[in-house]
């Protein structure tokens, strides 16, 4: 399906992927009684935070992420994405790591789990990171900085 005016968008694949993500988060919530927040789960797995999900549970979730992506790849989905080079990846990783710890969450914990719960903190955090993300990409494009290679 093509979205009128946006020939490159993939609305149906996006919606299907979103529903899978929602089911995953619902399984964490109703099965384990926890928020499926990937930044918090990573910090827990690597011993950077103490509370929250059990450490083996955190590792199990993290191992699942590339496993799920690999399954989609084997089924012929996901395409062949390009990633940024080393310097932008390091800068981005540092900012994402610091920001998600200070901000208590990322796109999954705030954007999916918190927004769907109408959490005030998550709605404000989500609007904030989308706004600074838009500002960053807009500025980089204005400066002609291409990062994906």
């Amino acid at each position: 399906m093509i979205l009128p005016g946006f020939p490159d968008a993939a609305p149906l694949a996006g919606l299907a992927g979103g529903i899978l993500i929602g089911l995953a988060a619902a399984l964490m919530l109703l099965g384990a009684g926890r928020i499926a927040g990937v930044s918090g789960i990573s910090a827990r797995a690597f011993g950077i935070s103490d509370g929250g999900i059990s450490r083996d549970g955190a590792w199990a979730f993290l191992i699942g992420l590339p496993l799920g992506a690999a399954i989609i790849g084997l089924l012929g989905g996901g395409g062949e994405p390009q990633y940024a080079g080393t310097v932008p990846l390091v800068i981005a990783g540092l900012l994402v790591g610091m920001g998600t710890r200070m901000g208590s969450g990322c796109t999954s914990g705030h954007g999916v789990c918190g927004v769907s719960r109408l959490s005030q903190r998550s709605i404000v955090a989500t609007l904030t990171f989308i706004a600074t993300g838009i500002a960053t990409v807009t500025l980089m494009n204005a400066l002609g900085l291409e990062v994906l290679q």
Binding site: G17, L20, G22, G33, A60, A84, G97, G103, R121, G133
Partner: protein, 139 residues
Amino acid sequence: MIARTLPPLAAGTLFGAGLALGGMTDPARVRGFLDLFGAWDPTLVFVMGGAVLVMAVAWRFVPRMAHPLFAPKFALPDRSDLTARLIGGAALFGVGWGVAGLCPGPGFAALAIEPGAATIFVAAMLVGMAIVRLMEPAA
């Protein structure tokens, strides 16, 4: 052990599959969504919309359940205060998200797609998390 690890493993696998299917392991798609004033790609709206819809239903079950299916009790965030730390952290995260088009979930999922790039991103992210922990041990 099984009850502690099997639900998160299944959830993580579904989550990673959803990210890849929805194009969120492709930084060009994510940065396309953030390029609101340029060649905007609305795909992420559909991903987040689908996920939020399913979760909005899931939240309705929580007050009706005495405990989660595979755990003794719910352990959910209960804060509602808006702090400078929350907003500043989210702002920094958004900048990083924009620079490389990756956030934590797709970073780990991409280990199956381009291990070299994903490892660099994930390692830097863990260093960033550790820096916050070292600077603010009480937080």
